[in-house]
């Protein structure tokens, strides 16, 4: 057996490593993108059965299904824009409330030297003992008791409840990067805790707030179970619930369903990529 020189062996080793990494990356990419490809394939097909016929690309691609969704041209889609507005309302309010509650909680625990503050963080994380779906039945009863059932506020309350613990954890970790001396200097100058929070803490926490806001928005945008259980009137449905009615149909127009799903996925994609830089730095503590 011929022994290869060290340099050649090193290069070969490096090349093989790079090839293996690239192969793994491509496989993972394909695996992750196949559902999106299938969505597009079906949405572009005028009949909506391309995926079942085994075509790689529809023979006559058409944007007709997107037009139908846009103009609410099918009876399942007659409330599309209203439902889209509901989704947006739930998503934005969940984002805002999660940012507000978690930033106040992390400020109180991390900056005001709250006694037993650590317990508060742990208690928030303990909500994850029970996954959200396990709490659906008690939450539904609670919403009925307080007159919140079939209302968007019940959904918002549920989403905020699930987004807040992780948001508090992320904000608390990020806040450790901000020197406490800044707060102390402001206090020496006569600033109240509220002023420290508004004028120092919030501006410096902007990347982390963008991260948790995006997280909360994506969570509420893609959540299904609570919206399905809590919203019963068609007028109050969100798009996630409206998609389910296609599922129940005897003559499901799959191309409309997929076009609807693609349109529904666009706003969070746009928000995520526009805030990507802040999200990355907010989650890692690396300044973008």
């Amino acid at each position: 057996m011929i022994a290869l020189p060290f340099r050649l062996r090193y290069r070969l080793h490096r090349l093989l490593g790079a090839a293996a990494s690239a192969t793994l990356g491509v496989v993972l990419l394909i695996w992750s993108l196949i559902p999106c490809y299938n969505m597009l394939l079906i949405a572009l097909d005028p009949e909506g059965d391309t995926e079942f016929a085994g075509y790689v690309w529809p023979p006559e691609p058409s944007l007709e299904s997107f037009r139908m969704v846009w103009t609410q041209g099918y009876w399942y889609l007659e409330d599309f824009w209203n439902q889209f507005g509901n989704s947006l309302y739930v998503g934005l309010l969940t984002m805002f409330l999660t940012m507000l509650i978690s930033s106040l909680a992390s400020f109180a625990v991390g900056r005001t030297r709250l006694r037993k503050g650590r317990l508060l963080i742990n208690a928030a994380l303990l909500t994850y003992i029970l996954p959200s779906s396990f709490l659906a039945i008690p939450f539904l009863r609670l919403a009925q008791r307080y007159g919140l059932s079939d209302g968007l506020w019940a959904v918002i309350a549920a989403e905020v409840m699930f987004a807040a613990p992780v948001a508090i954890l992320i904000l608390q970790q990020y806040a450790k990067l901000i020197p406490v001396e800044l707060d102390e200097a402001a206090r020496v100058d006569g600033a109240s805790p509220w002023q420290v929070y508004v004028r120092i803490y919030l501006p410096l926490m902007a990347p982390a707030l963008a991260a948790v806001g995006t997280f909360a928005l994506l969570l509420s945008w893609s959540e299904y179970l609570y919206q399905y259980l809590l919203l019963s009137t068609k007028r109050n449905w969100t798009v996630a619930v409206a998609l389910e009615q296609f599922w129940d149909s005897d003559e499901a127009p799959w191309n409309y369903m997929m076009a609807l799903a693609i349109l529904y996925a666009l706003p969070p994609i746009a928000i995520f990529y526009s805030l990507n830089r802040y999200v990355a730095s907010g989650l890692t503590g690396v300044k973008g």
Binding site: R14, L126, L130, S133, F134, I137, W247, D248
Partner: protein
């Protein structure tokens, strides 16, 4: 209207996917894991990484990510134990409820069979598994400076 029974379109879709629930769960998990781990790689100083080129993943990246791997795995386990949507849409518990998980079973008991107490009991039966996982997660988050 039944909350969990679905029409022929769903049944047709399910027949095509039967037996592939695990792959779908993995398909949902990989993007989440990839995002978390990508963010976790950022704080590793590039200089340290470049210094040990031949086996840098084994000797540098992997040990530095050990805690985040554990936290990600624990969080994924907790989330997947309670995941409703993937199972509901992919198999719906078919055939003959053999692919039901606790979340779908609980909702089925509560809404299809109108027995909410049975549904809650089904879901709470996951507690003996969940409590140790959460305790481990809390200890990990407390003892290490985990950046999520």
């Amino acid at each position: 209207m039944s909350r969990t029974k679905q029409g022929p379109a769903a049944q047709r879709f399910r027949r095509r996917l039967q037996g592939s629930e695990v792959s779908w769960v993995i398909a949902f998990l990989i993007p989440y894991g990839a995002v978390f781990l990508t963010f976790a790689v950022y704080p590793i100083a590039y200089g340290i990484w470049m210094g040990r080129e031949p086996r840098r993943f084994v000797h540098i990246t992997f040990p530095l990510l050990a805690n985040i791997y554990l936290v990600c795995t624990l969080l994924s386990t907790i989330w997947m134990l309670g995941d409703y949507s993937s199972v509901h849409f992919v198999s719906g518990g078919a055939p003959a409820l053999s692919t039901d998980v606790l979340a779908t079973l609980g909702i089925r008991y509560a809404f299809d069979y109108a027995q909410p107490q049975l549904g809650v009991a089904a879901m709470l039966s996951a507690l003996p598994v969940l409590i140790p996982i959460v305790i481990l997660l809390l200890r990990k988050v407390q003892t290490t400076e985990v950046q999520l």
